[in-house]
């Protein structure tokens, strides 16, 4: 072998070792600063069995803000794990649940549904490649394998798997020294001052394509039906809810009535409870922003609505000994 080639190989070999060291450092930091990421929670929770797993997008996240999950557990006497992540539709939630069920058990799944997540691939396939999620997802062969499978089967970009396996987003994480918390958590105690422009901007952000085309909606509806079948196939009780939102926000959601009609029909046919609380007359002071419950709102919602749902005994749960 010629000297330049040897030299180049040596350079690459040392580079690979240094890269591995950076990767290991990033992974170590991830465990020091992790918090919200569902895979981090799955990897670090000492429990193996739960009564409820909460899934959904950002509307489901306040259940785990500050000490609220502990309060819910104390009030109900149940073990609850919130695996919701911001902006994630049914595809990512199924991905999370599949991984969770590999080495954990739950009797029930509470799915907080949002219509926006059925309207765009931005909230489904594209979420897998989001650096903000990848940089906080611990290295786990099972996640990697599943991510590759989703690339082949579900149209997720192969770059997501490449990024995950290479650890690039973790090494390149600009917030590597900061705790992994969603910005909403810092506002959990505050009360929202209504703003028409903020609501408009929020809706525009969540529905970049408006009510989207029928094909897109049908695609994610089919995924949702598959998700329901998956949970039922695993013997889990699934409860689907919509959390309260301010009336001004709800009024602007595109195609919401049609969405409710179709989803409730789909769930009814499969014997799944669908509880829509989005129209409850919750005042803006019970939200910390345009559409997320603050502590006061969540306490009221939990006490009045959610607690009876969580504590209702249903036979045939997978968590029974």
């Amino acid at each position: 072998m010629s000297s330049p080639v040897k030299s180049a190989l040596r350079f690459v070999a040392i580079g690979v070792l240094l890269y591995a060291a950076l990767y290991a450092g990033a992974e170590w930091l991830l465990y020091r600063t992790g918090d919200t990421n569902p895979f981090y929670k799955i990897a670090t929770t000492p429990e193996r069995r739960f009564d409820w797993v909460i899934l959904g997008a950002s509307h489901a996240m306040p259940f785990d803000f500050a000490n609220f999950n502990a309060i819910m557990e104390r009030e109900t006497g149940l073990r609850i794990l919130d695996l919701a992540t911001p902006g994630n539709g049914v595809l990512y939630n199924r991905f999370v649940l599949e991984r969770f069920l590999e080495d954990h058990r739950t009797a029930n799944v509470l799915y907080v549904v949002d219509s926006f997540a059925f309207r765009s691939r931005a909230w489904n396939e594209d979420r897998f490649a989001d650096a903000k999620l990848l940089r906080r997802t611990p290295l786990d062969p099972s996640v990697a394998r599943r991510l590759l499978a989703y690339s082949v089967r579900e149209g997720v970009s192969p770059l997501a798997a490449l990024d995950y396996l290479s650890g690039f987003s973790k090494i390149n994480n600009r917030e590597r020294f900061q705790r992994d918390v969603w910005e909403g958590e810092a506002q959990f105690e505050r009360a929202y001052r209504p703003s028409a422009s903020a609501v408009k901007n929020r809706i525009a952000y969540l529905y970049p394509d408006g009510a989207a085309d029928e094909a897109t909606f049908a695609r994610y509806l089919t995924m949702f039906a598959d998700f329901v079948a998956y949970t039922q196939g695993r013997g889990l009780r699934l409860v689907v809810i919509k959390t309260p939102v301010p009336a001004a926000y709800r009024a602007l959601l595109p195609g919401e009535d049609a969405f409710d009609r179709i989803v409730s029909s789909l769930l009814r046919e499969r014997g799944v409870a669908y509880l829509d609380f989005s129209a409850l007359p919750y005042e803006p002071r019970l939200f910390f922003d345009t559409d997320h419950l603050n502590r006061a709102g969540l306490t009221d919602f939990f006490t009045q609505q959610l607690k009876p749902i969580l504590t209702r005994h249903e036979p045939g749960s997978a968590n029974k000994p």
């Binding site: 330049p4 350079f11 040392i14 890269y19 950076l22 770059l159 690039f168 390149n172």
Partner: protein, 488 residues
């Protein structure tokens, strides 16, 4: 396709491998194919305009090569120039001019007819390849270059992918001969090319893109940002635009070198210039400066047609340069004309005070040759350029004036504000990166870093390489932020 995109960085080695495997005599064809693929990847219609410009200059060049009568030659030259530069002007200014005309008529008459708009998406890189194409025609006309018979190689000159989006504005006189002598892939050239690519990426994704948000935020809320934030934004912008543009150029030159082609140097540590004439003439965007010098300033008479003409020629060059820069990153507006004129005024001032500096050098040689004096001149030049950058970056003259007025109004309080200001980690990082850049540029000015690296023991050299790669990985912003200069 961006140089910093994943697709480019993965396709480049494959393109190079294929290039190396092909026989030397057909490598130009592969490069032409790759160039059109690269250029059309984001917007296929762009390739159409590129093809139109190429065909035009080939046809006009061919005609110039055969025509004997001066009238015919001038006609062919004018036809080519008007078509190529007219296309550029129409794309750049037609919609803007129509809007301004409507506004003007509305002010005069109270109502204005709605003028039709082209509404065309600007072909990215047109500002650059149109100037390359024009320089080819001018060189053929002037007899500096025979008309190119090989249409494919001329097409490659216009379209060569490393330079098409943001230069350097290469001359056919240096580019075309390289295609004939062979596009060889050699280890030394590969190393030199990779060094430049690494350094260019560092300047772009580590420095420029980390500075970008610190510039964008205060400029977006100029009326509400604190004067100190505005000051920082103006300073940061000077380094953002330098690292963004020169980073692109370094990558372009490095990539071209991998394929066996040398492109001209485009930046030479510009913020170490001791006068604005030196800044524009010898250090910043050199390929454009030379273009204007050779094809505008000299034909207008340069400095040989009397002092007044020289002043007029300088202002003409900088005004046209301002117009050329319109649309590069910050929209098309009057700010670019002001920016160009301001730089013209700086050069006037430099020219007018030149006897004074000579006299100073003659009477006080120790002061004139002292490092302190040199540093003062560098700082003065830098701040003059900095002032002009405000007009370049602002979205309107009103915004630029607002920023300058707010800074000027708080000038006395700035030192106290600077001491109390709660600097963010991002700002501290930005200052650190700029300090590293300047330190390296000062070293490079004394003795080229390339030479220093070549002379250094291998472990130092490799440490430098790994350091750059680690910075790219740890600090780089890779979220596909476009290069400022490659938006037109």
């Amino acid at each position: 396709m961006l140089f910093t995109s994943f697709s480019f960085l993965t396709l480049l080695p494959l393109a190079l491998l294929l290039h190396a495997l092909l026989p030397v005599r057909v490598r130009w064809a592969w490069l032409l194919l790759a160039s059109y693929g690269f250029y059309a990847a984001s917007a296929p219609l762009n390739a159409f305009w590129l093809g139109v410009v190429t065909l035009l200059v080939y046809a006009c060049g061919w005609g110039l090569g055969r025509a004997q009568r001066p009238v015919a030659r001038v006609a062919l030259l004018m036809l080519g120039l008007v078509a190529v530069l007219g296309l550029l002007t129409a794309f750049k200014f037609y919609d803007f001019a129509a809007g301004e005309l409507e506004r003007l008529v509305a002010v005069w008459l109270g109502t204005a007819p709605a003028l039709p708009r082209l509404g065309l998406r600007n072909p990215v890189g047109l500002s650059f390849y149109a100037f390359s194409a024009a320089s080819y025609l001018l060189d053929v006309y002037a007899g500096r270059l025979p008309a190119e018979r090989h249409a494919g190689q001329l097409a490659l000159y216009v379209a060569f992918f490393p330079k098409i989006l943001a230069g350097p504005i290469e001359r056919a006189t240096t580019f075309l001969p390289q295609l004939r002598t062979g596009l060889r892939v050699e280890p030394e050239r590969l190393v030199a090319g990779l060094q430049l690519i690494g350094w260019g990426l560092f300047k772009k994704v580590v420095i420029a893109d980390n500075l970008a948000p610190l510039v964008d935020r205060p400029f977006a809320i100029a009326a509400y940002a604190s004067p100190l934030e505005l000051v920082l934004a103006v300073y940061f912008f000077a380094f953002q635009i330098y690292c963004d543009f020169s980073g692109y150029t370094d990558i372009a030159i490095g990539v071209a070198r991998l394929f066996g082609i040398d492109l001209m140097e485009n930046f030479r540590r510009p913020y170490l210039a001791r006068s604005t004439a030196e800044f524009w003439g010898q250090r910043w965007h050199i390929s454009l400066a030379h273009w204007f010098r050779d094809y505008l300033y000299f034909p207008l008479g340069g400095s040989r047609a009397g002092r007044l003409r020289q002043y007029a020629n300088i202002m003409a060059v900088f005004t046209v340069s301002g117009l050329w820069h319109a649309g590069l990153g910050y929209g098309v507006g009057w700010t670019f004309l002001v920016w160009g004129a301001l730089n013209g005024l700086y050069n006037w001032a430099g020219l007018a005070t030149r006897p004074l500096w000579h006299a100073l050098g003659g009477h006080l040689p120790r002061i004139a040759s002292s490092p302190v004096w040199a540093v003062l001149r560098v700082l003065l030049t830098f701040h003059a350029v900095l002032l002009a950058w405000v007009f370049f970056r602002a979205t309107s003259i009103g915004q630029a004036v607002l920023i300058l007025r707010r800074i000027a109004g708080a000038l006395g309080q700035l030192p106290a504000l600077a001491l109390r200001y709660p600097y963010s980690g991002e700002q501290a990082l930005a200052v650190g990166l700029i300090a590293v850049l300047l330190a390296l540029e000062v070293l490079d000015e004394r003795r080229p870093l390339r030479e220093r690296l070549a002379a250094a023991p291998v472990y130092w050299r490799w440490t430098a390489y790994y350091g750059v790669l680690a910075a790219l990985l740890i600090l780089g912003r890779w979220q596909a932020r476009e290069f400022i200069y490659m938006q037109f």
